[in-house]
């Protein structure tokens, strides 16, 4: 462990935009997302010595975020139904009216995925992690990861409709 804490801090700072992106797709809520990043970075800084040199720092941080979010969801689950998608039966249409609408409908569709599928989709399709890294972040075998990915993708395709020819 030759990495100095200062250099590690700089590297974590460099990853902040990606941590926020992952948080946004996982929590589908702006404030929740930044709270999650905050909690995860605090945890990471407290346990810098646990990061193993030679492993990916981004994966390590994603894993901390995943665990922090699961804790948060459990804590909230007993209080309210924060995570229940608000209009559960509504069809999420694919809007051609503007990029912001497109973005919202994709975010809504993501929000409707079960937690475990959403994380798998986010890590692989958005963050571009290899299967091996993503499976380690989620603490699951690669076979489980690929089946979550397959189910998540099918659900998204179904919700987003036939917009696949749009740019």
């Amino acid at each position: 462990m030759s990495q100095s804490p200062l250099a590690l801090r700089a590297e974590i700072a460099a990853l902040l935009p990606r941590l926020r992106r992952f948080a946004r797709s996982v929590t589908h809520h702006r404030e929740d997302a930044d709270d999650l990043v905050q909690i995860a970075v605090e945890r990471a800084l407290k346990h810098l010595d646990q990061w193993q040199d030679g492993t990916r720092l981004d994966s390590w941080l994603f894993r901390i975020m995943k665990n922090a979010w699961i804790d948060e969801v459990r804590a909230r689950g007993r209080r309210d139904e924060v995570l229940a998608p608000e209009e559960a039966g509504e069809h999420v249409g694919f809007s051609e009216t503007g990029s912001r609408d497109i973005r919202l409908s994709i975010e809504k569709a993501m929000a409707r995925l079960p937690e475990e599928q959403r994380m798998a989709v986010s890590l692989v399709l958005v963050e571009g992690l290899p299967y091996k890294e993503a499976s380690e972040v989620l603490d699951i075998p690669i076979g489980t990861l690929t089946s979550r990915l397959a189910r998540g993708r099918d659900a998204l395709q179904a919700m987003l409709g036939d917009g696949h020819l749009a740019p």
Partner: protein, 279 residues
């Protein structure tokens, strides 16, 4: 596409995700050419990937909340050090950082102002600020003189070019053939070589935190490669690193990609330095 069997469905995913081994990917390519249903499934998956990425990409450019930046602020010693400025423009040359005449005596070199020497916190802070500045797109105001310019190791110009300043600039300019001008400066110069444009380039280290390559251009030593932390060569605290010091694999790769011909030996370094590192 719902009739697709499980095996093909997984294969389409793995293909789009770049997870197929090369041989399998080639075989899959061949199938795509003659199975429209498979090609259509691939197109759908690619489109989904693109749509997800473009939906979340704007988050990367959103302003960073101050609370997050504060968490990663430079701690302790560095925080107490004088503020580090990322210069908008290199400070005007002063007696202290103007290149010495090639024939300057050792005594003249030893008489260089002490202001050029500084400890690691500033270097660390510079390295971190640099990362932060680049990352968060800090827009640096142009044109003003930077007070305390002698504590700078690197400056970022408005066009993004990073130039060596202060002790780093002095070392790049003068430390040749294993001679160290200022042994107290925590900078080191390692290998020298010429790049494809025939410019002279040299590797350097900033304390143990950062390392990189700077190339001599008319405006000064412009940083062509910079890395921090675990990529920087591990070594004793500060001090000069000889050409044989351990360089990180990524730095070595960068040298190999850049260099035209062999690295310079001590005599060639001295000759290039006497010539002002001009092409």
């Amino acid at each position: 596409m719902s009739q697709m069997n499980e095996h093909d469905r997984i294969a389409v995913m793995a293909y789009v995700d770049g997870e197929l081994p090369p041989a399998d990917a080639a075989a899959f390519d061949a199938r795509l050419a003659r199975e429209p249903a498979l090609a259509d499934a691939v197109a759908r998956e690619r489109a989904l990937r693109t749509r997800l990425q473009s939906a979340y990409a704007p988050v990367l450019d959103e302003p960073m909340p101050a609370s997050l930046l504060d968490l990663l602020a430079i701690p302790d010693a560095a925080a107490k050090a004088p503020p580090v400025h990322l210069a908008a423009v290199p400070p005007p040359p002063t007696a202290a950082n103007e290149p010495l005449p090639a024939g300057a005596s050792d005594a003249a070199r030893a008489a260089l102002p002490r202001a050029q020497r500084w400890g690691w916190p500033q270097f660390g802070a510079i390295a971190a600020s640099l990362v932060l500045g680049v990352l968060f797109g800090a827009r640096l105001s142009g044109g003003q003189h930077v007070p305390g310019g002698d504590t700078l190791a690197l400056a970022v110009a408005p066009d993004g070019a990073i130039t060596a300043q202060g002790a780093l600039r002095t070392a790049l300019e003068h430390d040749v053939g294993g001679t160290v001008l200022d042994p107290n400066a925590r900078v080191g110069v390692g290998l020298s070589f010429r790049d494809h444009a025939r410019q002279y380039c040299r590797t350097f280290t900033l304390d143990a935190e950062s390392s990189g390559i700077a190339c001599r251009q008319p405006e000064g030593w412009v940083v062509a490669h910079l890395e921090h932390g675990r990529n920087a060569p591990a070594g004793e605290q500060g001090g000069y690193r000889t050409a044989g010091s351990k360089l990180s694999p990524t730095l070595l790769q960068a040298i190999d990609a850049m260099r035209e011909g062999d690295t310079l030996d001590a005599a060639a370094e001295k000759a290039a330095q006497a010539n002002g590192w001009t092409r």
